[in-house]
Symmetry: C2
Subunit: 388 residues, 2 copies
């Protein structure tokens, strides 16, 4: 650390240099992130509330009301009245909270090592959780469609099963597990079911036709106990805005820790001090767009996904892993190994990511990605493939 500080101009010259090294979402070059450029109106709201701390909600009563309204809106969106939950730092904290609740419920009835049944496609946050919470993971294999093989679940349940985790929008392929069926199993066996809809939570409700509501993936399924839904992914909110929703208030309350010196008696998040800015941004987005607005955002994203899918499908040497259910597409090329292809694309400036299972190039078509970016990307991809 410097003894004497440096002047303001030099500071901002350096900050500008660092900023130049960062990629920008609007460049369209980020094709492998589940985050996106925050919506301008969300940014405005965020900046208004940067000083707030929802870890001490008695001081920031207005922001605290917004959090309640956001949780209630997200609950409704997911077919739940009187939702309990919080806007937290992201999907990881949300998943930790759900797994903590399941663990504490388990500990009320058993001293054994708690087991969590989860698909091989679960997000890596569960690896962190399993070590932190000392859980025994019981992995369910995937079907040919890369979804949790529901037929295998019953056979994996033991007296030590503390929870089942299902995914609505897997990180690697965007697949949606058969929540309706998994919920039936969880319900009949009285097992805690957590649905990680970090990505899908802000998409699936807007893909369904309001009347028919084909895909049941939320609290409409009676076995669903808690859900992760992240405003900072397809909700267009700035980071850190994750969401955790519990069906029962008493479950959230299992997380309560006494906070003697704060303005509220207890705290039910993992993180203590937490910004209210992301909550204000989320409140703004939900009210500004409404369901109608989000339907349009999701439609655009899915239209571009379909467009990209068709183009890739017709491209020589390209094999698509599976038909997209959300806004992710993964593929391999016959004539270039996946990791080499990723590197070569990077030389053209394209930041794609690589899925592990199956090993493939992974595209995430977030709202910052436009048709012209995809066209330019496909042109470069085609060049690379032809070159071989």
């Amino acid at each position: 650390m410097l003894e004497k500080g440096i002047d303001k101009k030099s500071i901002f010259d350096k900050l500008n240099d660092y900023q130049k090294l960062d990629l920008k979402y609007e460049s369209g070059k980020i094709l492998g992130s589940m985050c996106t450029k925050p919506d301008p109106i969300a940014m405005q709201a965020y900046k208004m509330f940067i000083e707030t701390n929802l870890g001490d909600p008695g001081l920031f009563k207005g922001t605290a009301i917004m959090e309640e309204e956001v949780i209630s809106s997200l609950g409704e969106l997911l077919h739940l009245n009187n939702a309990s939950g919080h806007i937290v730092t992201g999907g990881t904290e949300a998943n930790i909270m759900a797994m903590c609740v399941a663990k504490y419920l388990f500990e009320l009835r058993s001293n054994n090592v708690p087991e969590v049944i989860l698909p091989k496609s679960a997000h890596f946050s569960f690896k962190k959780i399993i070590s932190m919470l000392s859980l025994k993971p019981v992995y369910v294999p995937l079907t040919d469609e890369y979804k949790m093989d529901v037929s295998k679940i019953e056979g994996l349940i033991t007296e030590n099963t503390m929870a089942i985790v299902a995914i609505a929008g897997t990180t690697e392929l965007g697949m949606i597990d058969d929540i309706e069926e998994i919920s039936r199993i969880a319900s009949s066996r009285n097992i805690y079911l957590h649905v990680d809809a970090a990505l899908g939570g802000f998409m699936i409700p807007f893909m369904n036709n309001e009347n028919s509501n084909k895909l049941n993936f939320d609290f409409k399924c009676e076995g669903v106990t808690s859900m992760t839904i992240d405003p900072h992914k397809m909700g267009l909110a700035p980071v850190p805005a994750g969401g955790i929703i519990f069906r029962h208030r008493e479950h959230l309350e299992l997380l309560a820790v006494k906070t003697p010196y704060l303005t509220k008696d207890n705290q039910t998040t993992i993180v203590g001090t937490r910004t209210g800015a992301a909550t204000a941004a989320t409140w703004t987005l939900l009210n500004y767009y409404g369901k109608e607005g989000y339907r349009e955002i999701v439609k655009k994203t899915l239209d571009l996904t379909k467009y990209t899918y068709k183009k890739l499908k017709n491209m020589e040497h390209i094999n698509i892993i599976c038909k997209p259910e959300l806004n992710l597409i993964s593929f391999t090329a016959n004539n270039i190994p996946v990791d080499n292809l990723q590197e070569e694309l990077l030389e053209y400036g394209w930041h794609v990511s690589v899925a592990e299972y199956p090993h493939a190039i992974r595209l995430v078509l977030m709202p910052h990605v436009k048709k012209e970016h995809i066209d330019a990307f496909l042109t470069d991809l085609n060049k690379l493939i032809k070159k071989e």
Copy 2:
């Protein structure tokens, strides 16, 4: 959730209404928070980097460099070369990371329930951690000075001790444990020692005379394995800016989880997606103020603490709990029970907090609190006491 969104003007009218319900730090009425008004230059830097995500550092290379520089600077400040660590969401995540490392080290040698030795004055985040990580807490009583009773530690160590936790700036009274002596014990018994300096980390180094450096509380003490130091407390950074520093890189790496689809191979924070804005703000503050600037900030804060202490000491019916070591003062009144006094002060608009042990009114003199606020507060306090 609304079907149709509402117009921009109505949104901002509502946001303004909510903002009016929030307290502002500059009002001087917040006398019980360890957060404060972020420095203007930090806010400017923060706003420049809101879109960044250090969970995917390959996309935000400039911001990632700033994080490295911040960790290295904080390490140096705490007498550690080649520090490893991260800017995380706050003291809670920092403490979780330290306790996870200690737990994983313990699990390499034992299957027993790991025990953590910590003072009764430890922050409530440790209650969360103990439940989450399934640790057995072994509480050390406090001395008359409300510090961890060092003489009791040896007797509490067992083969299952996974870590000792000491505090440099307790949440309730701002007391600093005898880290030097605790470090000696930890060192001689080869036990992991974590120092929670969430508050003190940005104060103690600037209180010491550079040459004599009287108070050893950091990595200068050989037994100290990791430290929490929060830029969003006395560092003047906006939330979320906690800091965790490890002496050994291989300890941080025990937290590594493979992140196949991101731009870096693994992740060593608890939270996944995380804003780089707070890191940019912290980088800016460290470079803008340097040690010299922080020395001045800390001096002002401690001068006001001394001033308040003297005034309170001379006030009839007031009993001060102990002489402040940092910027916290706790007191009771002879003639009004603590909780009543808190409520009556609230009627005058003063948001003081209440310490649990000992039960007392707790003031935190953060940089947003000025002499005129304290004078007005003392006048009101005096009125209340005289009224009885």
